[in-house]
Symmetry: C2
Subunit: 344 residues, 2 copies
């Protein structure tokens, strides 16, 4: 089959690769119908050393079941399925609590199993991981359904972990796909005031469509001042941080109200950060978040996608065939595209 | 009057000082009946520069109302009252949310108003700050009532912010007064498993009396391994950190279960700490806590003290007259005393 590999920072190639095969009785093979490039794929695109490559890429996909291991039940060949970016057994104590990303039988696609920017993929723990979609679903819904694999679930996780509630005030940092879907999720959970911090007008316009009430284009101290000016000087109760770089963390600390919550879903590109008396401790600010257990939210979020209440798939603004995946990375890196959908 | 001042690390003196007087119409003057030395007083006792002294000391007290500003109502001369370590108006939006430590009219005793290791003290925002106690209360209850000013409220805050619930598993780091009262608070909130990390047998024995089910004397990696061994390998859902030094933070990260909460009430003696993928983010661990809004918990915690359900005053194991306050610092610093009560 054809599959995407990153060789080092800036060097992404589509090449021949072995067809995936059942390795464990709990595996499935899925033929990919839609996949995409993630904002988090840009982190290695900027920094990966040649010694760490070639690495299979892609962790978001929907597709049709092609083959099932003998221990997988509840699925059939030909079923249309979507997978979260983290596979999991969906039966252990962590999965039962909704923390599929900590499943001892689990792992992450691309790093712990094959990449999804490919023609087909091996899915470990298939019964727990794959969620069956209606077979007769309209093709126009596929982009929104694909967001359940990561960006919608991740934006929702940010809002969920911050316990966003009706009437709430929320700042969302980052106008990438996750930030925009954090806006949508905060709105879904009833937030009244949603301040989106982002600099790209086409993206923040989509953020307004998703429910942002205010847009702050400024960054750093200037951005913090703007958020405080909009909120009577105190900041918002929740800040959803969907970037992962230190300046975004610092803006979150500056924009959160005393007693509030910073919920991070941007993969942190730092290990240490300010958490002392002057940042989190003094004002009793809570820091939460992590990799989203997208599986935990799928049934719930699927309903709104299928009935058209929400259109998270609007984050895709370019579609490319698999062979042009490297162009997708380039376009997202250059901010020419918000999120690139990949077709077989 | 006589009052306690710290001149620099290790140098505490009781000396003559001006009698406190009403400065604002919202002030009261309280004659101190009981005060004490706090574990947090030991931080400057170890590090304070001479240039920062002399500084008034003490932020925990109960006493009798001696004088009231014209805008204070609901209190009378002679009332027995207790104050939280942070004064606050108890009417602003933050106070109404139970976050008195962020009250814009508020501040901390000793640093923003007079010290409590003295004969009398000026209490700003007296109406919001002072809580009236029954006039006929037994003297034997005074130590427990005094813990409402800080250490009990602070231990309770740790458990409250961690949302400790019936059946929960909790690790408490630190066998000082706050740690021990965090044990008591976790028990009050229904925790089933309470692992106390501490090395002083007399203290951990009191911890067992307060409700600890297990004691881990080891520290660092060894201590973490012990907690994990006791909890099926995963750690406890909540970790209450009542120390404030970096090794305690690191133990908290090691002892918390994926998806769990680290709740800090030890004043952090560091500004930066690990919060990245390998510490908090990857396992979706929440970091919360801060200075306790002790005022918010007073009415609730007062009931159990008055009816004898709890005996938080057992953390006091030595009583000294005001003139011997420096000896109290020495004894606590040398771990000869857990917590020193001061009488006039």
């Amino acid at each position: 089959m054809r599959a995407t590999y990153m060789y080092e920072a800036g060097d992404v190639r589509v090449q021949d690769a072995p067809d995936p095969a059942i390795e464990q009785p709990t595996d499935a093979i899925v033929r990919i119908v839609r996949s995409c490039v993630c904002g988090s794929d840009l982190h290695p695109y900027h920094t990966m050393a040649a010694a760490d490559g070639p690495a299979p890429m892609g962790h978001e996909f929907l597709g049709t079941v092609e083959e099932l291991g003998p221990e997988v039940s509840g699925l059939r060949r030909g079923d249309l399925v979507v997978a979260p970016f983290a596979f999991a057994d969906n039966t252990c104590e962590f999965c039962r609590e909704g923390l599929h990303t900590s499943c001892p039988d689990g792992g992450f696609f691309a790093s712990d199993a094959g990449g999804a920017q490919a023609e087909a993929i091996r899915v470990p723990q298939a019964q727990g991981t794959l969620v069956k979609l209606p077979g007769d679903v309209d093709d126009g819904l596929l982009p929104s359904l694909l967001t359940l694999a990561d960006v919608y679930g991740t934006g929702y996780h940010a809002a969920h972990q911050a316990r966003v509630r009706p009437g709430d005030s929320v700042t969302v940092i980052g106008d990438g796909a996750v930030g925009l879907l954090a806006v949508l999720s905060a709105r879904q959970l009833g937030a009244e005031r949603i301040i989106l911090m982002g600099r790209h007008k086409d993206r923040t316009d989509l953020g307004r469509f998703f429910g942002a009430t205010d847009v702050v284009a400024e960054r750093g101290e200037e951005g913090i001042t703007k958020v405080r000016d909009l909120t009577g000087g105190h900041g918002t109760r929740a800040v959803l941080e969907a970037v992962g770089h230190m300046p975004a963390y610092e803006m979150a600390v500056g924009a959160v109200r005393p007693g509030g919550v910073i919920s991070r879903v941007g993969v942190p590109q730092y290990e240490e950060a300010p958490v002392g008396f002057g940042s989190l401790f003094g004002p009793n600010v809570t820091l939460t978040g992590g990799p989203a257990p997208a599986r935990a939210y799928m049934e719930e979020l699927l309903r709104g996608v299928l009935d058209g209440t929400v259109q998270p798939g609007r984050v895709f603004d370019r579609t490319l065939p698999l062979e042009q995946t490297p162009e997708g990375y380039r376009a997202m890196d250059q901010r020419e595209a918000l999120k690139v959908l990949i077709t077989p």
